[in-house]
Symmetry: C2
Subunit: 216 residues, 2 copies
DNA sequence: CCATGTGAACAAATTCACAGCA
DNA sequence: TGCTGTGAATTTGTTCACATGG
């Protein structure tokens, strides 16, 4: 019963649960209760139940959840039971690393091609991934059937490139450039700003500093 | 008036505002209203005001905020007015990319050293960053004064390494391994699982698919 | 009897709407 | 007049506690 839209928060937890379940499956466990799962991975049992209950009754009262069934259900829900093709845009440091990192996935995601404007890079490869020039964008999207664009491009170019990959037929975007994009409402778009994570830690360190100073 | 703890959500927005303000400063703007800021960067004006008001009255009614003053205030708050030294742990694909990526910051963060267990890497450098062996962990932390550890290590090793860097005197951790760490309550710790972002997009694509299928 | 599924209580975050000040 | 700062209203998310069913 996939009623309304699932919140991003919930969705992220589902990914997490899935990861935990896979682990348990490897360990040969066939059944798990919300409490066990919570204890084992530092989660909240009530929340696990709430989250899972959104999609119908999957547990067996008095017993728990069937690890295999639940794994499959969550995989399906997140669309991980098929392969998504990724187009990497920007083959610099971060881009190249992402190309390798995101591919070694369990076949749910695969980087199929890259675009970069540097003439020295065009025609070469990152791992097995061929690098094309910006002019070929449309052709590459068509030929590879890439659905997701991963943007690892300079800040000032991000918006323009965003618009262009959508124009070229990309269905969703994961953006690593630190800009607030003007989004296309029809294209699921997610932005990740790696600096923000550091800055949050910066604040925490700062705050402790102030606290200890005051304590003396 | 930094009353209570600031939530992670708020903190992340503050980073964002700061980035926007820097941009405006470059453009020569000296004053900006919450509404302008919101329009320009697709944010919420009310939220900007709420967020900023937590730290005292910074705006001028009828006018807006002083770009320079606010920039400085936010920098200070986030601890960006001094340099934080980062120790990179794990110099694989992702690690190496992060070393370069996180360093080109505005001097608020600098990767000062890396640790890797691969004997072939020990003694070499990523960019300007020297790679040390795990045995030197404690010494390196002491000598460099590194405050933040960035973990880009295999999943199964992450927990052990987490415990060890803290043992070695690291003050906060940014973890890229896809595990729920058992955290030290005294050490600000942030985990980033890059796959989760992709999986969220996977869901959105999946959901659209289902929706369009049903519509036919 | 035991763990799920869930309504009700609670908490957090966001948005609204406007009083108050430059 | 125009925009901030803020209580109050609303929405969203989490936790509690227990009735329900295998």
């Amino acid at each position: 019963m996939p009623t309304g839209a699932i919140s991003s928060l919930t969705l992220n937890r589902l990914s997490l649960y899935l990861r935990c379940l896979r682990r348990l499956r490897e360990e040969g466990l066939s059944t798990v209760s919300s409490l066990t799962l919570a204890d084992r991975f530092h989660l909240s049992a009530a929340q696990i139940r709430k989250d899972l209950a959104q999609f119908g009754e999957f547990g067996i009262r008095g017993v728990g959840y069937d690890v295999n069934k639940l794994t499959d259900r969550l995989s399906g829900l997140l669309g991980l039971d098929r392969t998504h093709s990724i187009l990497l845009v920007g083959a610099g440091n971060l881009g190249s690393a992402l190309a390798r990192f995101l591919s070694f996935e369990d076949r749910s995601f695969r980087v199929v091609a890259a675009i970069d404007s540097d003439p020295k890079k065009i025609g070469t490869e990152i791992g097995e991934v061929p690098i094309h020039g910006p002019a070929e964008l449309q052709t590459v999207v068509r030929n590879t059937g890439a659905e997701i664009a991963v943007l690892a491009v300079p800040t000032d170019e991000a918006q323009e490139i965003y618009d262009r990959v959508i124009e070229a037929g990309i269905r969703s975007v994961l953006n690593f450039a630190p800009v607030r994009l003007a989004r296309d409402p029809d294209v699921p778009t997610k932005s990740v700003d790696l600096r923000i994570f550091l800055e949050e830690l910066g604040y925490q360190l700062q705050a402790r500093q102030v606290a200890t100073d005051a304590a003396t």
